[in-house]
């Protein structure tokens, strides 16, 4: 719309308290305040119905030329807007001029936040809100969201209730499209779906819905050329502040669940396909050491070689299980699984010990009577096992035996659990991060889903 004979478009945005007022010429009307006589500008007569005198804060009716003073309030008190009235900025692809400033407070907690009325003669009104240093771009909507229990639904999206309460106007400056009044109370509710929020305000005669979008302070700084001092660092997590972790979690969680299901299906299939064939299962005798023997191995190790047996499944695992009748004693087994055709050897050893007793009115036990060894990737073929045992039994020499069981191709859980673990590290990390942010987000809400655990 800008034409060649336009006056300079952008007013000085670095207006400090009580400076010369510089605004784009053209529509501005200036009159004297009926209360204090100071000059009052109306930038958008015909649109603005009330204007606040910058000198004495009286609210003046600007719907007609009589400029009647509607109300005088807070002569002493002045809240300085972070963005000077009259500043123009580019936001959401359009130019907006800041024409009004309202400080509102929650009646229950006296918590205050700022609202800036934006105007563009073509696109109408918008609001910027500043709450704990967090900014939102707010558009009034004519849609009527559906309120169901603790949600408001709009265009298929569910917004969760965050706040409900009464708010009142605490301070005003600038001009407004209605007759603004300090003390004006509305019933409010906010529903969130980061980075968006829906708000509803009711004052008995009207119900106004608006939709907010979270914007970062830097966007405000750039748009309105505001200096760093005026834009505070945001405190905490805003109700509708987008969380990268939560966003990631929402994406990762279903994938994670899917992978775990696939992994589990693979594992179940694996368990079904394994044959669990017992290839050797025999008791093997050993002699307990003579009393007084000193060296546990010195020549006393007992040797035994099993008959040959066949492993039919190629490159499968073999589980060696040693089941003993130990009783307050130990047994050491060294074994070599030897392929009788290729001499390929798989060695293993195990110390098994089991002690128990009754002391001070309590039974105790330590260790166990059996042990297993898992040997991976054993080629098919004919095998035998060389065994060497030693034991720690005391007392008279005695014959004992242990059961040696070899099972080929058994189902294992190791790979499954490792995959499960590695697959879960990132999702669990993201979940913790997301949760920390969500807990912080909801810490100011009466409707926090985390309230029982915090």
């Amino acid at each position: 719309m800008a034409g060649s004979h336009d006056t300079p478009e952008i007013p000085n945005p670095f207006r400090k308290p009580k400076p010369e007022v510089k605004v784009p010429k053209g529509n501005v009307t200036t009159f004297s305040c009926g209360k204090c006589g100071g000059p009052v500008d109306v930038r958008y007569p015909g649109h603005s119905l009330s204007t606040v005198c910058p000198s004495c804060n009286s609210v003046i009716d600007t719907s007609n030329e009589s400029f009647a003073v509607i109300a005088t309030y807070y002569k002493q008190l002045t809240v300085h807007p972070r963005i000077e009235l009259g500043t123009r900025g580019e936001l959401m692809g359009k130019t907006w001029e800041v024409i009004g400033f309202v400080v509102r407070q929650d009646l229950a907690s006296s918590f205050k936040w700022e609202e800036y009325l934006l105007f563009n003669p073509f696109h109408g009104y918008r609001w910027l809100t500043c709450n704990n240093g967090h900014w939102n771009f707010v558009t009034m909507i004519k849609d009527r969201p559906d309120r169901v229990a603790s949600y408001a639904n709009l265009e298929g999206d569910k917004y969760k209730i965050f706040y409900q309460g009464k708010a009142s106007v605490f301070f005003v400056l600038g001009e407004f499209y209605w007759k603004v009044a300090v003390g004006e109370e509305v019933q409010m509710a906010d529903y969130i779906l980061p980075p968006y929020a829906l708000s509803v305000e009711e004052d008995g005669t009207q119900r106004v819905w608006s939709k907010s979008e979270y914007i970062t302070p830097n966007v405000i700084k750039d748009a309105f050329k505001v200096d760093d001092d005026s834009i505070a660092t945001p405190i905490g997590v805003a109700p509708n502040q987008p969380s990268a972790a939560t966003k990631t979690w929402n994406k990762v969680a279903p994938m994670w669940a899917l992978f775990l299901v696939i992994l589990t299906v693979l594992q179940i299939t694996h368990l079904f396909l394994t044959t669990h064939s017992v290839v050797y299962d025999q008791p093997i005798a050993y002699t307990t050491r003579q009393e007084g023997a000193i060296d546990p191995t010195g020549g006393k190790a007992e040797q035994f070689t099993t008959p040959e047996f066949v492993i039919t499944k190629n490159n499968s695992n073999v589980e060696v299980k040693i089941n003993t009748d130990l009783d307050n004693s130990w047994l050491y087994v060294y074994g070599e699984l030897v392929n009788s055709e290729t001499d390929e050897t798989f060695s293993f050893d195990r110390s098994i010990e089991y002690y128990h007793g009754y002391e001070g009115g309590e039974s105790w036990s330590e260790g166990g009577t059996s042990s297993t060894v898992l040997i991976d990737s054993v080629p098919a073929g004919t095998y035998f096992i060389n065994l060497e045992t030693d034991n720690g039994a005391t007392g008279p020499a005695n014959r004992h035996q242990y059961q040696l069981t070899l099972t080929s191709d058994i189902g294992t859980f190791g790979n499954y659990l490792w995959c499960f673990f590695f697959l879960s590290i990132i999702p669990i990390f993201v979940w913790f991060k997301s949760r920390a942010i969500e807990v912080a987000r909801w810490s100011d809400s009466d409707y926090s889903p985390y309230v029982s655990s915090s």
Partner: protein, 209 residues
Amino acid sequence: MLELSCPACGAQVAFKSRSSVFAVCSFCKTSAVRHDMDLEAIGKIADLQYDLTPFQVGTTGMYDGKKFEIIGRLKVAYDNGFWNEWHTISGGDDTGWLAEAQGFLAMCFELNDISSIPALEGVIPGKLINIPPNGYMQVEDMRQVHCIYSEGELPMAAAQGRRSMSVDLVGEKMKMGTIEYGENVRVYAGHYQHFEKFEFQNLRRIDGW
């Protein structure tokens, strides 16, 4: 298009819609009622003091896939403000209204069948009223309004000061409606629409923007 002479200054006054019965001469601001092929002057329209609207007679836009053109305007005032109702024509002689209030825009069309519309006495904010084809909509507000300005051509005699009770309704999915209780009951139904979607052309210049 019908062109008649202004009864006051003799300038040409155009009638693009056959249903227009009222026009304001763009030269001398004489308002005139059309009796078939004659214009009868009924008064003069005083200039508007403040008029910051992006629209003007001649602005065109799109609604529902059809191009329309603004041919007249009614500006009304109520206790707490003003709004504009722009009279539009589209295709042969389909007329409608573009309502402009507090930055919101809505396009609506007059209904012929108003049998489902209750009498004013029974209407209160919050009441649901069935306005076909939009269906049930809720009364949002009710305002006593009077005409403060008119221009171009209009389907009713809109002299300054003409009073009526205007009842606004809203429904889901941006549906809206208006019932005007005046000498006659007039009912309009339509939809809110965003500025961009109208693809306006020939907008008015606004200083500084």
